[in-house]
């Protein structure tokens, strides 16, 4: 529904009825949740069962009851916020309608006075010798001028008041939107992804993991999207291949993945700092000479002493780059990470990132770009263990890789927190400060966007045959 005819006065957007209707439905949901939570609370305290299992069960039920009640609070408070905005908006729109009526009345009075003066002028010109008509005209013309001035005064005052009302409604709209956004977080950010009471958010790092989960931008050419690391590990068999210990994956198990696969996270303390670590798993690394089964990509958020994010860790290849939080690209408060085509390495911006040098010349690049699928990791987040296990529950041996590929420059990955894959980064190392240089490598110069020299080599072309096409800016 558009704005009504209000004499050109500004009109606050939105329909109070829509807000009221949504508030009513949310309030009903809140009521039903509260009703469901009541018996749960009672069940947690029933007699007739004591001992450790009973205590554990009661604790679990208490936590779940809190989640139910927390969700009820969220829907209830959101309904209250929407109702409040509806009331304010309705009052504002009513007031503007009243102002519009006043303006309309003044305008119509001015038009009528002007009409009467014009009639008098016509009669006066028909009877030029009539002094009475001249006097009437002068009187009516003066009255028309006064009516016109009155109309302008009424209109200007109404315009000022309407602008103030609209500004007030816009501010209330912004405030309500913030409350709804907080409600969205509170209803999804509890431990294990369950709803949590608003008071739990912003306190526990576990809850913060939902707040600061990355939004991943995939390259349009990407062939392998994230999949479930636990589903992959459940299909592995521990073997020794060519002297290497591997958790072998079935060769026919290579899901293309999706933007809704579960992503595990962990909360790690290191040197007095807290890190939120996100583990994104892909069934295959499709990167020319570095093709390999299994691909684990980390993304980290470093929390400051105040519990707020201080930096994001982008794991291109190897040592992560630490990008200060105020320089991290964000969407709705979430850090944005660009996943390089094929390698899935994470970068803070689109670009052609050099990743391999031969005699000082960039011979391979990661190409990161938007335009492909997007993933909002918080929608599929799952607390992960510090250490995964083999399908029979036994520990994964140190140094074992998930997948049996050993590529020319890398190979299948280590499981988190095994061997050199310690979270947030190997002990004794430190991240590289600042974003990686998205310098132009060979992409686009030889074979066009989306390809690089590694792909070129794989397809049988000869690197040696193309030295002249290497741009000078690719030289060190």
């Amino acid at each position: 529904m558009g704005a009504p005819d209000v004499e050109g006065l500004p009109w606050p957007e939105g329909e109070p009825g829509a807000l009221t209707a949504a508030a009513g439905k949310l309030r009903a949901i809140a009521g039903k949740l509260s009703a469901a939570g009541g018996p749960l609370a009672t069940a947690a305290g029933l007699g007739g069962w004591s001992g450790e299992a009973s205590i554990a069960s009661s604790l679990l039920l208490s936590a779940q009851t809190q989640s139910v009640q927390g969700a009820a609070e969220v829907f209830g408070s959101t309904a209250t916020a929407l109702s409040g905005l509806a009331t304010l908006l309705s009052a504002g729109q009513d007031r503007i309608r009243v102002l519009a009526r006043e303006v309309r009345a003044a305008r119509e009075a001015a038009e009528a006075a002007q009409h009467r003066a014009a009639d008098a002028a016509q009669r006066m010109s028909a009877y030029p010798d009539s002094t009475g008509l001249e006097g009437a005209y002068l009187h009516l013309n003066a009255a028309a001028g006064q009516a016109q001035q009155h109309y302008r005064d009424v209109r200007d005052r109404a315009m000022r008041q309407a602008h103030e009302i609209v500004a007030e409604c816009k501010a209330a709209d912004a405030d309500t939107a913030s409350e709804v956004a907080e409600g969205k977080i509170a209803a999804t950010a509890g431990p294990n992804g369950l709803p949590a009471g608003a008071s739990q958010v912003d306190i526990e790092p576990v809850a913060l993991a939902w707040l600061y989960a990355p939004h991943i931008r995939f390259h349009p050419d990407e062939q392998y999207l994230p999949s479930d690391i636990r589903a992959a590990l459940a299909r592995t068999t521990l073997r020794t291949i060519d002297g290497r210990t591997v958790l072998d994956l079935p060769d026919d198990f290579r899901p293309r993945g999706s933007t809704s696969a579960p992503v595990d996270f962990s909360v790690v303390q290191r040197d007095g700092k807290t890190y939120l670590m996100y583990r994104v798993w892909y069934s295959y690394n499709d990167k020319g000479l570095d093709d390999h089964e299994g691909d684990l990509e980390l993304f980290g958020v470093e929390l400051g002493p105040d519990g707020k994010p201080a930096a994001a860790l982008y794991y291109g290849h190897g040592t992560p780059h630490r990008v200060p939080w105020d320089q991290v690209p964000k969407q709705d408060g979430h850090p944005v990470s660009y996943s390089a085509s094929g390698s899935h390495a994470s970068y803070p911006a689109p670009g052609h990132y050099p990743i391999g040098k031969v005699v000082g010349i960039d011979t391979a690049t990661d190409e990161a770009a938007g335009g492909g699928p997007h993933e909002e990791v918080e929608s599929h987040l799952r607390p992960g263990p510090a250490h995964y296990t083999q399908p029979d529950g036994s520990p994964i041996p140190a140094g074992a890789r998930i997948g049996d590929d050993k590529s020319a420059v890398g190979g299948s990955p280590l499981a988190p927190n095994t061997g050199g894959n310690t979270e947030p980064f190997p002990a004794g190392t430190t991240p590289i400060e600042g974003a990686p240089n998205a310098g132009d490598g060979l992409d686009g110069k030889i074979v066009g966007a989306g390809k690089d020299i590694a792909h070129l080599a794989e397809s049988g072309a000869k690197i040696a045959a193309t030295p002249i096409t290497i741009g000078l800016d690719a030289l060190p």
Binding site: M1, P12, E13, G14, E15, G17, A18, L19, A21, A22, K25, A28, I29, K32, L33, A36, P39, L40, T42, A43, A44, L46, G47, G48, W49, S50, G51, E52, A53, S54, S57, L61, Q64, S67, V68, A71, F75, T78, L82, L85, L89, C169, K170, D173, A174, T176, A177, S178, V180, A181, G183, K184, A187, T188, N192, G193, L194, P195, D332, S379
Partner: protein, 100 residues
């Protein structure tokens, strides 16, 4: 190890309560689909639309968590009841675990 008391029927009753709650919670996820963010002031409308997309999943997760709790309680009830029966059979010498 401290002593403990088990009345399997109490555990079953607790599981029943959790089952009922799980059903209600999961059902409410569908009700959220009936909430419409259209026609609202722009920022509130956008925020509500985003929340309406996230909330059903949260409630379904909660429903699943309650389902899992209920299943665990039912399993415990079964184990305790079977143990109780087994011990009783043994004591009476009538069961497969009884005296020869």
């Amino acid at each position: 190890m401290g002593g403990f008391l088990v009345q399997p029927g109490v555990i079953g009753a607790r599981a029943g309560t959790v089952d009922t709650a799980a059903g209600h919670v999961a059902g409410l996820a569908g009700m959220i689909g009936g909430v419409d963010a259209g026609g609202m002031p722009p920022r509130t409308g956008a925020a509500l639309e985003s929340a309406l997309a996230a909330w059903p999943g949260a409630l379904r997760r909660l429903g699943k968590a309650l389902d899992a709790t209920s299943a665990a309680l039912r399993s415990a009830e079964g184990h305790y009841a079977a143990t109780d029966g087994g011990v009783a059979d043994a004591a009476h010498g009538t069961g497969s675990h009884g005296r020869p």
